[in-house]
């Protein structure tokens, strides 16, 4: 009897030690997997900032060209505009069209969030084998920051428009002015007068009004570590190679861990609510000059990195994603309850 008792003590001590160790491993796995998602999203956001800066650069160059001279390309043949300047603007529209599409391609859910989720699952499996399929970043839950249509962006160019699911809600600036000075020959038959071509606007860069709080990720990793020598299969219901004394049907020896992480420290676009700081229409004389475009660019900071965040509430065992991202908007004025997450 004594020997039996001693054996049991050793067995349970071993079991408990291994379970604690695996619990630590599982928590580390959840942390690292969630961090991998946030890191990948941060890298995507940096790419998005770069694309936004590209749009601003094109706009700046176009404005520089338009404001560098008083246009007079076809004297006595044109009324109301200058054909040379209009050609420049047409070329700018094409360039901006491509740049806006490039921005949208990078911001699109399938090119920013999906690869990040894949990186998270890969990281989970690299740290704890067998967890690939049991890793979730709440991407199936409407309202979750990783859900496909939680965020979307309406975009337009001079030639096309659309709405796409994106990594965050972006708002496009559509009133960036492209005007110029020219010699207008309308008056008194070929007598020129110095005129400013009235504002014509082109959709340009993107703004993220709400600076960053909506981009974060909550991860849950689950798994039953393989322990052949400990699984006694005592209920005879299956062999999942779980812990000694635990149900071998995969119930109470399942380890679950949660983590939260987020990208931070960058800014996709200027977030001023109105005015020339948003659309760059800062008048440096009769035309919107090169200098005005610096204001939006100052708000584009491609320094995104990722950090771990936290969970306020104590979570034990399996918790439904719906519970994690509970719908109680009436209480906090949001569609999902972020009170459980510090991010």
């Amino acid at each position: 009897m004594c020997l039996m008792a001693l054996m049991l003590v050793v067995a349970f001590a071993t079991n408990t030690g291994i379970a604690v160790n695996d619990r630590i491993r599982m928590q580390s796995t959840a942390d690292l997997a969630t961090y991998a998602v946030a890191y990948s999203e941060a890298a995507s956001l940096n790419d998005i900032v770069e694309a936004n800066e590209q749009i601003a650069d094109i706009a700046r160059d176009c404005r520089g060209t338009l404001s560098s001279t008083v246009w007079n390309t076809v004297p006595c043949a044109q009324c109301g505009s200058d054909p040379g300047a209009e050609l420049v603007i047409a070329a700018c529209r094409v360039e901006l069209d491509l740049a806006v599409r490039q921005f949208m391609m990078k911001a699109e859910y399938g090119n920013s969030v999906e690869p990040a989720l894949e990186a998270g699952r890969g990281t989970a499996d690299a740290n704890f084998e067998g967890t690939y399929d049991k890793t979730s970043f709440m991407e199936d839950i409407p309202g979750s920051p990783t859900y496909r249509w939680s965020y979307s962006t309406f975009w337009q160019t001079s030639y096309s428009a659309g709405i796409n699911p994106t990594i965050a809600d972006f708002e496009q600036v559509t009133d960036t002015a492209f005007n110029y000075e020219y010699l207008n020959y309308c008056n008194d038959r070929c007598v020129p007068s110095l005129t400013v071509k009235p504002d014509q606007t082109i959709p340009t860069w993107f703004v993220k009004r709400n600076r960053d709080p909506e981009v974060w990720v909550a991860g849950r990793v689950m798994g039953t570590p393989e322990k052949r020598f400990l699984d006694t299969d005592y209920r005879g219901g299956g062999k999942d190679r779980g812990y000694f004394g635990a149900s071998s049907t995969g119930g109470d020896d399942l380890l679950v861990a949660y983590a939260v992480a987020k990208p931070y420290d960058g800014s996709v676009g200027p977030s001023e609510k109105s005015g020339y700081q948003l659309n760059g229409n800062w008048r440096t004389g009769p035309v919107y000059g090169r200098k005005g475009i610096d204001y939006p660019k100052l708000g584009m900071v491609g320094e995104y990195r990722a950090r771990m965040a936290g969970i306020q509430d104590r979570l034990a065992g399996y918790v439904d994603a719906e519970t994690l991202i509970a719908i109680d908007g009436a209480m906090i004025g949001k569609s999902w309850d972020t009170s459980r997450f510090e991010h």
Binding site: L3, V10, N21, S28, Y35, A36, D47, A126, N127, P263
Partner: protein, 108 residues
């Protein structure tokens, strides 16, 4: 009446080694598990915070997402950071276990 004074001594002599071996085994298991936990936590901390937190710890090395006093800028959506840490259990009966743990953050 027969004399039984030696019986307890004999029983004690039989049980003491078993109890001693059991205690030593538990001590050894605790040491192994402690080393494993240590290695895993070190590896994880290193890949997340690098030498900023674990600069003086032996047996831990690799790449990390930390630089200076902040996390690294996320440069690419293709990334791989990996650290490993080794820790040894205390020797019992001349035997010590060496445990290696890895922590990985990857897009592969």
């Amino acid at each position: 009446m027969r004399c039984r004074r030696g019986q307890s001594a004999v029983e004690t002599m039989m049980v003491v080694p078993i109890v001693a071996v059991t205690i030593m085994a538990l001590y050894y298991l605790w040491s192994v598990i402690y080393a494993a936990e240590n290695a895993h936590v070190r590896a994880r901390e290193y890949v997340l915070h690098g030498s900023a937190y674990l600069g003086s710890v032996d047996g831990t090395s690799g790449s990390d997402v930390f630089s200076g006093n902040n996390y690294r800028r996320a440069d690419s959506t293709s990334f791989h950071f990996e650290s490993s840490s080794t820790d040894q259990s205390l020797a019992v009966f001349g035997r010590a276990e060496s445990i290696e743990a890895k922590a990985v953050i990857t897009s592969r």
